[in-house]
């Protein structure tokens, strides 16, 4: 029987939740990396035992952790403890937590600047890794979305990272600015049908696409409307919170923007709003059913100043029509006095049948549905605030 492994990043460590295919009884391990913020943990589609974790701290900086045994043991994929940090020739060995932005090859100066809250320009400064996206077919290749927003890649299992600088270098950098939580690149979608196509999203710059494996990028924000920026239909500057796609139709994208749910049927060339009858179209997460490409999930949040569910009722909303028509899925979720948030990385699906749906809250609950959202049960109730949830379906 298949098994499921949920990888949960929290404000004070990582937790691994495992169950058989019934998804009724769960084992919990953790905290791993106790006391550290774990922004994201994700497994390789090419090797389920290969996991990567972003361990971070405002005090101590960025750490990348890797497991080769499904999360039982972890190591930093640079130099093993006790070994010299330089080669016999004196060159530094791999430094798994070293993220250095590219500079202009002509001048050696920073590639570009970005806008701060007050409108002034500021150079890029690395702060942390928000998202780790392992390659679909190579366990040693991983993309990292970082703050300040940029895309990095490793091809040696996390030992060293190089920027894909065409994203920052394409020209709109001075118009990017931080969202309230920083200027992070949080969404990385790899096209399973076209290895040269990648989508990313940045708060607050918008969505971007490459069709040449990361060398050049273009903004894909036509149709987005954001009343809170000077030009509501600007090419860049939108606060995209999350994007999702179904692997069978990678040209169809779904987006939770700061406000508004949107979809694109042409790889991001144009977007249309599909918020429909939602009680609020503010929120952070969005995901797609594993077997039904037109079935999508969101968790409405009251507003950008009140980060909790409308009416204090925690409800996932599902659309079986690719948007516009939404149904509430409250069964098993608290329906009074609930004031948690569900952050942008904190929803995932498994690929069992029926599809399992999972999400974590800032109140430390991780909820699971083994029936595509019809009903929910908490796997755990009292973790630290949940930052991210990913799910692996294991043979």
């Amino acid at each position: 029987m298949s098994r499921v492994r949920a990888l949960v990043g929290t404000r004070k460590g990582a937790f691994i939740l495992t169950s058989d295919g019934k998804r009724q009884k769960w084992e919990v391990s953790g905290p791993h990396f106790a006391g550290w913020e774990i922004y994201h943990v994700k497994g390789s589609p090419a090797d389920a035992n290969r996991l990567y974790a972003s361990q971070t701290s405002a005090w101590f900086g960025q750490i990348i952790q890797r497991s080769d045994d499904g999360g039982r043991t972890w190591h930093q994929p640079g130099t093993p403890p006790g070994e010299p940090t330089t080669t016999p020739e004196g060159m530094p060995k791999g430094e798994s937590n070293k993220f250095v932005y590219d500079t202009s090859p002509e001048t050696g100066q920073p590639l570009t600047t970005h806008q701060l809250y007050d409108g002034t320009q500021h150079p890029w400064e690395f702060k942390r890794v928000w998202h780790l996206e392992p390659s679909l077919d190579d366990p040693d290749t991983v993309y990292a979305g970082v703050e300040d927003a940029a895309l990095f890649r490793t091809t040696d299992g996390g030992k060293t990272w190089q920027e894909l600088a065409g994203l920052r270098g394409h020209g709109s950098g001075p118009q990017w600015s931080p969202g309230a939580g920083g200027m992070g690149l949080h969404t990385i979608l790899l096209d399973p049908g076209n290895p040269r196509r990648i989508y990313v999203a940045i708060s607050a710059a918008g969505a971007f696409r490459t069709d040449d494996a990361g060398r050049t990028w273009k903004p894909i924000n036509r149709g987005l409307r954001s009343e809170y920026i000077p030009n509501p239909t600007a090419e860049v500057g939108h606060c995209v919170h999350r994007m999702a796609l179904h692997p069978s139709r990678p040209q169809v994208l779904f987006m939770q923007k700061h406000w508004d749910i949107l979809r694109s049927d042409d790889a991001g060339e144009s977007w249309r709003e599909v918020s429909g009858n939602l009680p609020s179209d503010f929120g952070f997460v969005i995901d797609v059913h594993a077997h039904e490409p037109e079935t999508i999930y969101v968790v409405p949040i009251k507003s950008d100043s009140e980060h909790y569910p409308p009416e204090g009722k925690l409800r996932v909303y599902r659309s079986r029509t690719g948007g516009n028509e939404w149904e509430a899925l409250p069964k098993g979720l608290p329906q009074s006095h609930c004031y948690v948030n569900v952050l942008r990385e904190a929803m995932a699906v498994d690929s069992l049948d029926p599809c399992g749906v999972y999400f974590g809250t800032t109140g430390g609950q991780v909820y699971a549905s083994a029936d595509a959202g019809d009903s929910w049960e908490p796997i755990v109730r009292d973790l630290p605030a949940v930052l991210s949830v990913e799910v692996q379906t294991l043979p």
Binding site: G35, E37, W59, E95, K98, S388
Partner: protein, 126 residues
């Protein structure tokens, strides 16, 4: 043998508890001490000093012998009591607490008080 006290988060990262004891070749300075520390525990590279600039990370402080040495030049000799191992060299996370606002744009990016772990601090006169 030089003694170094790490903050709790870095003790966990390095897999140590209590003082770390180091041999430092040549003059004992912040730089030579941290070089030795990072050679012995390479997982600490980048967590105390910036990879590129070599600067102390802003929320960390260095103390020894009742003195705040955080702003001393990296190549200045450390006190003899540190060099001889009588007194430890303390690396501390500044106590900077509270959650930042997640504000209007929202994110998962706000910080808890990661540096404020309960740990016996260095004896510093106020």
């Amino acid at each position: 043998m030089i003694r170094v006290v790490l903050p709790a988060h870095l003790q966990r990262l390095a897999g140590v508890s209590g003082d770390v004891e180091l041999e430092v070749a040549g003059p004992v300075t912040q730089r030579s001490l941290l070089d030795a520390l990072e050679t012995r525990y390479p997982m600490l590279r980048g967590t105390i000093r910036d990879h590129l600039t070599g600067q102390r990370r802003p929320f960390l402080r260095f103390f020894a012998c009742e003195q705040d040495l955080s702003h001393e030049p990296p190549d200045a000799p450390l006190p003899e009591a540190v060099a001889s191992g009588r007194e430890p060299f303390w690396i501390l996370g500044a106590i900077a607490g509270g959650e930042e606002s997640q504000g209007g744009g929202g994110s998962k990016g706000s910080q808890g008080s990661g540096g404020g772990q309960r740990q016996a601090g260095p004896p510093v006169r106020g």
